[in-house]
Structures are given as C-alpha cells and as structure tokens.
Amino acid sequence: MYRIRLHGRGGQGIKTAGRILGEALFLEKYEVQDAPRYGAERRGAPIFSYVRAGKKPINERGIILHPGLVVVADETLIEIPAAGVFQGIAENTVFFICSNESSDFWRKRLGIDSQIITLSQSEEYDTALDFHYNSSVCVGAAGRLLGVISKESLKQAIEEELSVFEKTVIEKNIEISLKAYDELSSYEGIVKRGVGISADSYRRLNWVEPPFEGADISAPAIYDSGTSELALTGLWRTLRPVVNKELCALCWHLCGSFCPDSAIYLDEDGAPQIDYEHCKGCLICVMQCPRRAISVEAEHKKTKEAKGA
C-alpha cells in the first residue's frame, strides 16, 4: 500500500491536503484511510496528516511509522525534531519538500540518501496566508509522484474537499496543484507501494515492566516553575518582528505589555529585546508600536541567512 505522511503547521491546510490526496486515491478506486494528527486547535504548531491507500481494505491504523512518501509543506519544520519529519524513513522513502532550495541543497543539508524532490511557489510570499498554497503545491506534487492519480481525479478531489470555499479560492488551488503536477512529470510514479512489517524478520522489542514507584515519584506533578520556557515556541513562527533601535522611543514597554507570550523583555538599557526562542510571530507588537519601530521579516529568509546558504 501507499503510506504517505504530510507535514506542516496548524492553519496551513495540511489536514485538507491529506484529504484531497485521500479523496483522489479513492476516486482512482483505491481503499483509503486518511487522518490528521494534532492536539488541541493551535495555529502554527507542527502537525501532520497521513494517507494510506491500497487495493484491499486497510487494516493498519494510527500514525504512519514507515512512510513511502514524506511531504513537507513548511521547510522550517525540518529543523524541529519534534515535528518528526524523518521518523521511520527508509532508503526508498521519497521526500517532497516545498522549498525554493534545490534537491541538492537539501540532500547535502540533511545528509540522507533518500530521493528528495523540491518545488516552490513561483511568487515570493510575505504573509503567512500564502502558506496555504504550499499545501496546494504539495497536493499536486504528491499526486504526480505517486503516479496513480490522474489530473481529472486530482481536480475533482480538490473541488470536493474545498467545496465550502469560494469559487475563486477553489480555482486558484486547482491551478497551483496542477502546475506542480505538470512540473514533476519526470518523477511520475517514483513512489512505490510499500509492504507491511515482515513477521519473519522484524526488529525484536524490549518490553519492560515499569517498576512500582510511590506517588512521590509517579504522581503527575511538576515541582518546578516556568519549565514551559524549555518549549521553543519560536519554532512556530513564519514571520518575525524586528525592533529598529533607532526608531524605538523606549516608551513604557508598550510592546512588552501587549506581547501575550512574555517574549519581549527589556535589556539593561531599557530597550526592548525580542526573545526569538519563544516569539510566535503574532506581530501584535508590530501593529501596536506607536513609532512603528518594529518591522516584519519572513522567517525562512532569516533561516537561510543564518545558515549561510
């Protein structure tokens, strides 16, 4: 069966992308199982969805541990181990990354042997809203890489899954998806159907009986304060605020007061500093600064610069 895992962030259309692929495969007469994986509703947090498709009814369940195709809609997730982009990959796992960088760039960067294919959106994007169209690119690309979805089925699936949206939105999605589909013609069908785990030769397990531990150890208690700082919510960000020291009037930290996440602090000079490890990029500070001293930059550009690409 085909085992496809799609990675993105909450709010980027990853759940819908999974369903479009699922629907398209279903239209191609495959038995399908698709589902998203996320906790509570949170924009920006890494999520994934998955699709299984085969000729027989699917009995496998749950997250896909051994994907044949991994689709990454937001390349910044690759830096986040918790996003699990590389979980369970094998030599023949095919990667599709929606990125302006080339396949070679990623192969070198990731140091893996798997086949990596990239495509980007042709237009430069500056607002988070355009990230939805990354999912559209992914849908088209995945469709072609699988090699068993016709253009017509893909189009129909998009119409079906996006039926609640306006016509113009649906048409734009179809346009972007089919463009990606066309661009990857040379890679048609490189994703092969995978087999299940062999009962003859599987990795032996190491079951352990958890030892009894008194409540002093085993109660669900956190005996510390502020441990949430270990969670780097800065990784949710697709846009970042940047303080322009020249323009900043060192007012009474209006930006810091409005920051919901305590991600703006004052340094020894009383100047606002942004804690990029935790800033989620909501940009309230940008909008509220009376001097317009805070500007916006796209995160993936920053990442590129930082890595000296």
Binding site: G39, P210, F212, E213, G214, A215, D216, S218, A219, P220, A221, I222, Y223, D224, S225
Partner: protein, 414 residues
Amino acid sequence: MKRKLLTGNAAAAWGARLANVDYVPAFPITPQTEIIETLAGWFDEGALKGRFVTLDSEHSMVTAAASAAVTGVRVFSATSSQGLLYASEMLYAVSGYRVPWVLVNVSRGLSSPVTLEADHNDIFALRDSGFLQLHASTCQEALDMVLMAYQIAEDVRVRLPVIVNIDGFYLSFTREPVEIPDENKAREFIGEFDAHNISFRANVPLSHASAVLQGSIYSYFRYEHHLAAIQAISVFNESAEKFEKMFNRSYALIESYMADGADYVFIMIGSFATKAKEAVDMLREAGSLTGLLRLRMFRPFPEEEMKKLLKGKKAAAVIDQNLAPGKGGVIYTETAAALCNEKEAPFLISYIGGLGGRDITAEEFYEIEKEMRKAAETKKPPMARLLFSEAELEAVRKLQGIAGVEKKNEQRKN
C-alpha cells in the same frame, strides 16, 4: 472503649471523627445524610476542628474534597447512588491526583427507575474510578474500615483515595452494637497527616495534574496508579495486623466463614453476607459442608487470596446484589476472571439478588446450596439466575394492571 448501639451512618461519622479529619465538604442525599448532619454538629460544637461546608452538588463536593487533600489536609466526605454517579467525572479525575482521602458511600440502587433502597449498582459503577474500595458488613466494620481506610490511603506506597461502602438502610439506618475506639489510640493508629510531596504552599511551586498529550507518558501515570492500587493488598494486611493488636478485632481481605474444608461456598459482599452466615450455620447443622467467602476489599481485587480460598472447592455461588445490563453480576465476572486459568477451580454459579433492597431469604440460600450440589454432581452448572419468585411475578402483574399496561397495549392494537 465504649460500646454503644449505633446506626451505620453514625458509626461511619465516628470513624471520621476518630480519624481527626480536618475538612468535610458535603452534599445531602438519602440514605447518607445522617453522616454529614452528625459531622456538622460536631464541627459546630467544637468536637471536630476544621471546616464543614456544603457544596452545590456532589460533583463540586468531590472536587473540593480532592483539592483540599492536594493542598494538604485530611478530608472526609459521604454520598450515595445518584450523588456518587453525579460526581463520577471527578471521582475518576481526582484519584489520579494521587492524594489520600476517604469517601463513604451509602449504597443505594440507581435510577431508572429511581429508588431509595439498597443495592450495589452504584458502588460498582465506580469500581474502575481509581479509588480503592472497602465494603462493610456490620456497623462495627463501618467505623473500623473508615479508620483503616485512612491508614491505607495515606501510606506512602498507596497515596490513593478510598471509598468505604456501607449498605443503605440495612446498615445506614440499622443500629447494632459498636465499640467506639479510644480517641488517642485511634490517633496513634492513623498518625498525623503527612502531605509528602504534594501540597500548596507559597514559594513551593507545584503544577499538579497538568495535561498529558502523549500515550506513553499517560500510560506510565495510569499504570503506576494501578501498581499503587495493587500495593494496597499488602498495606491492608499490615494495617489489619496493627488494628488487631490495638483494637482486638481481626480483618482479613476476604472473610472466610466456615469455608475451610467446605465443599460449597457462597461468595458475597456487604451486609447481606451476614444472612449468608446464618444460612451457613443452618446448613452445617443439616450436615452440609458449606461456607461463606465475603470480600472486604473489592479494589484492588484480592485475586491471589480468592484463588487460594476457592482452590479445591466443588462449587461456589456468587450472589451479586448488582446487575450489569447485558452482562450479569460484577463479582461473578471478576471472580471468574481470577479463576480462569486455575486448576482445581470450583464451578462458579451466578445469582442476582437483592436489587433495590429486595430481601434474600433463608430458603433462597438453601435452594442455592442444592443447586451447587447438583452442579458438582452433574458437572453442569446452571445458567445465571435472578432470585425471583412466582408470587413476586404475580405482584408485578397486579401493579401493571393498575398502571393500565394491558389497557394501553389494547389501545395501541386498535
């Protein structure tokens, strides 16, 4: 020690008093109300020092109880039936807080249809809530088990809340002689409340019972809870040993009444088990080798003890005063699971009796003994049976007549 005639409710209240509880959040419900009224009176007159407060519902009451226990005080509360079920979300939730406290349930049948009489559907509905369960058979046990419950709950190996069950009406409103232990000895038995790691204090931050979003971590917490519940078996035995030394009353996990050397045993829980003792005495007089096994602890289920006591018996009749629709008796099911891989296990026969307070008569015990004999001889145990007579069915028909059941059905046909 003074010996007085006390109702089960009064005995339970005495248990809380002797345990020197700090806090009693309450909510009234039949047939438990006398317990909280008694305690409220003691707080008012200063016999107990702390707080008594009535909450807006049992759900709130259990929340207040557990939160106070998390903060670090000794807590007692009581409820029944519908109230226990209304609180059920919180009963499950707060057992996972891993803090000790004691809740007395005065068991009463569940709606629908609504009733005030006793049975065990309420208490068994919460058997998987994570609370430990002790079941009293006499008013003396009502008091004693509350004391033992505190000791077991607060033991560092357990740290779980306990429900002590006493039957509505048959214990709650029935007076029996009860020896009230000396206050100081009771204090000595239980000791001072020690909050260990979990308490709320300024400058000692604690984020408790936070969300867990991963299966493996959740599994760990839940499994450790289970292991702690299992620890209560040995902790109970230690507590019983200490109790016997101090108060001269002996309590085993499972009371074995004439079961040693018996071929046939009744298996029961709660106050109606004493009726079985009476039946056993008469059956023995008539030459039958019959005994009784009565569970004092239901959670954790004393599996090893049960297997040991049933080994070599020819037949055992489980008399459940509860009924799980679509399955049958709860004690029967759990006992069967304990026995399923055992060699020399007896035939297990299921009886449902005493629902909604319905009596179980001496004759019924004798009939059950006959069926146990037959099962052993023919090697064919009978199907599960509801204890119910022809006369009772006739009575139902009469009532249906008055309720116009036939009339209604005729109307529908026309």
